[in-house]
Symmetry: C2
Subunit: 180 residues, 2 copies
DNA sequence: TGGAGCATGTAATGAGTTACATGATTGG
DNA sequence: CCAATCATGTAACTCATTACATGCTCCA
């Protein structure tokens, strides 16, 4: 029993439970909103981790089951402790998996036009994301510095991607003037 | 048999096999070097995918087994075809998982000093990576434009991260003057 | 000539995704 | 009052990581 230290997904759930009891469904929503841009998770994972953490005594049911067997959980003292311990641990390196880059790495097998198309689609997505982030950042101004900090990463990142698209044109990997 | 289209990892292996027959071991090395920075994979995955692709007829043994049962594979015509098909498919969105950002998102549970320590460690890593990438880019100048293109992403990305670290200080999330 | 270390692969486990199921709500 | 939709959870599967095993090489 106990021991086997938390994975980041489980730990994040504990983090959210600091704000009060929540059901799996609530946690999925909150996680997607708050950390979804740099830590993906799905319903299935959440329910699995909740079950495991309940078994380990890190969380416990809060109140009776609601409609459609909704069950809320609350933190226990060991849960609080496990979360704190996780927070202190050395965060590992970031992991990026970028399928578009894979296409480009094998770009010599693809014609320039098709490559340009693929990139152009992504271009638009990033333009929109950057705009959305900026708006959010403005709305957040002066409220939650930690949310602002994660958002700042998103903004820098999106800028970097957009600049990189320009570089692709300069390198002749994609056709110039088909992006903007 | 056949059908179930390729995942990106398997497809990349096919990509490398265009340069000639290779064993699992070789492929791991090449993949780490060429796409490792934006597409992680491990030995186990490689062997799994090779076995699956051999069963599907996308690759076949090339020559007899060498020392310590080393087996090289070569592309088949269906393999070549499957690769091309994969290349054409819409690449999905990138995925980023950044454990440090997770610590920051829950930063209010951590004291500023510890947060600064964590960030400082990452700071150094990124400084070094950026330098290494830049050197590589110079060495690559004018040779392989696709390699240059992927490298350019790495450079932009590392720059973005470093700039973001500055923002963290400005936001008061980490202590100023403890990074550089 | 044997043992330190590298090359190569497999097995066990853990994490993540997709597909499925079913109970509530609610607007028409 | 029922059909569409949303809420909530589970099961099956695929993918990824870590731990283990064993065969070769080569130098002390």
């Amino acid at each position: 029993m106990s021991g086997s230290s938390l994975n980041a997904t489980a730990a994040s759930l504990l983090g959210f439970l600091h704000d009060g009891p929540r059901s799996g469904y609530d946690l999925v929503r909150q996680a997607e909103e708050v950390i979804g841009d740099f830590w993906t998770l799905t319903r299935s994972q959440v329910y699995r981790e909740l079950a495991a953490m309940e078994a380990e005594g890190l969380i416990e049911p809060a109140g009776e089951a609601g409609p459609r067997s909704r069950r809320a959980f609350r933190l226990t003292a060991p849960g609080r402790h496990a979360f704190r311990e996780w927070l202190e641990t050395e965060p590992g390196p970031e992991q990026i998996r970028y399928p578009l880059l894979l296409r480009i790495a094998f770009g010599r097998h693809l014609d320039q036009q098709r490559l340009t198309e693929l990139v152009a689609l992504h271009h638009d997505v990033h333009v929109e994301r950057l705009a959305a982030y900026r708006e959010l950042a403005e709305a957040l101004e002066g409220t939650d510095r930690y949310a602002a900090a994660t958002l700042a990463f998103g903004i820098r990142y999106e800028q970097a991607v957009l600049e990189w698209f320009d570089t692709l044109a300069e390198l002749g990997v994609v056709e110039r003037d088909r992006l903007r």
